[in-house]
């Protein structure tokens, strides 16, 4: 699946996007964040405050129980501040 990072999440993780293949037990957004957090100190730092991390699956906002599957575009970003 394709992961996209925006704003300070991009800064902390150190890249704006990457292709990842999580293990089979990663079935939803919550699982994915748990797994990502274990992928290194940069991910751990970026995901430390889960309330500050919003997730979109295929460009729609998604709650922790939203399913994820291969081929999805999954974006992680802080609460939005436009306007």
């Amino acid at each position: 699946m394709k992961l996209l990072y925006f704003a300070w999440l991009r800064g902390k993780i150190g890249k704006s996007s990457e292709e990842l293949t999580p293990p089979a037990f990663v079935r939803n957004v919550g699982d994915l964040l748990d797994w990502l957090e274990a992928q290194g100190p940069a991910y751990k730092a970026a995901l430390a405050d889960r309330r500050a991390v919003k997730v979109a699956v295929n460009q729609d906002y998604a709650a922790p129980d939203h399913p994820v599957k291969p081929g999805d575009e999954i974006a992680l970003f802080p609460p939005v501040t436009g306007g």
Binding site: L4, F6, A7, W8, A56, Q59, D60, A75, F77, P78, P79, V80, T81, G82, G83
Partner: protein
């Protein structure tokens, strides 16, 4: 109509477009967001707006469709810029036209309130101390919340 662009926009031309060639419009309401020089972080040198190409347009279209379903409007426009902007530069234009002023005024406020909490844009403020991402404000959540349907 939705536009997400780096370039500036002509407010007069955009508002004129909402009334050109029609006689059913009774009023046009608009909001123009501008980069303010003073921020919580200090004197602002610039502000960079980041967005999520694709999702940003989808969410703006959804917000506009919601306004069109709630109010009787003859037209609407949302233009939001991205990239590095200097103090005094325009960031966003929201405008609505209707046969009656109340629908135009209310829907205009609705659009900017929902845009602020739903459209994926992020502001990076540049001051003498460096760059700092703007944090979401609870007051913006409250402003958006009052438009929630019971």
């Amino acid at each position: 109509m939705i536009r997400v662009q780096a370039e500036d926009f002509d407010v007069g031309a955009e508002l004129a477009r909402l009334t050109t060639g029609r006689t059913d419009v009774g009023g046009v309401a608009s909001f123009v967001g501008v980069v303010r020089a003073s921020s919580a972080a200090g004197d602002l040198q610039a502000m960079t707006l980041e967005h999520y190409p694709g999702m940003t347009e989808k969410r703006l279209a959804e917000i506009e469709a919601e306004a069109l379903s709630r109010w009787s409007l003859t037209g609407s426009v949302i233009i939001h810029r991205y990239g590095r902007l200097l103090p005094g530069e325009r960031i966003v234009l929201v405008a609505t036209a209707s046969s009656h002023r109340q629908a135009a005024l209310e829907s205009c406020q609705f659009l900017i309130d929902w845009l602020k909490t739903r459209a994926p844009f992020w502001k990076l403020e540049e001051t003498a101390a460096g760059g700092q991402w703007v944090e979401a404000r609870e007051s913006d959540d409250h402003a958006a919340e009052r438009w929630r349907k019971p």
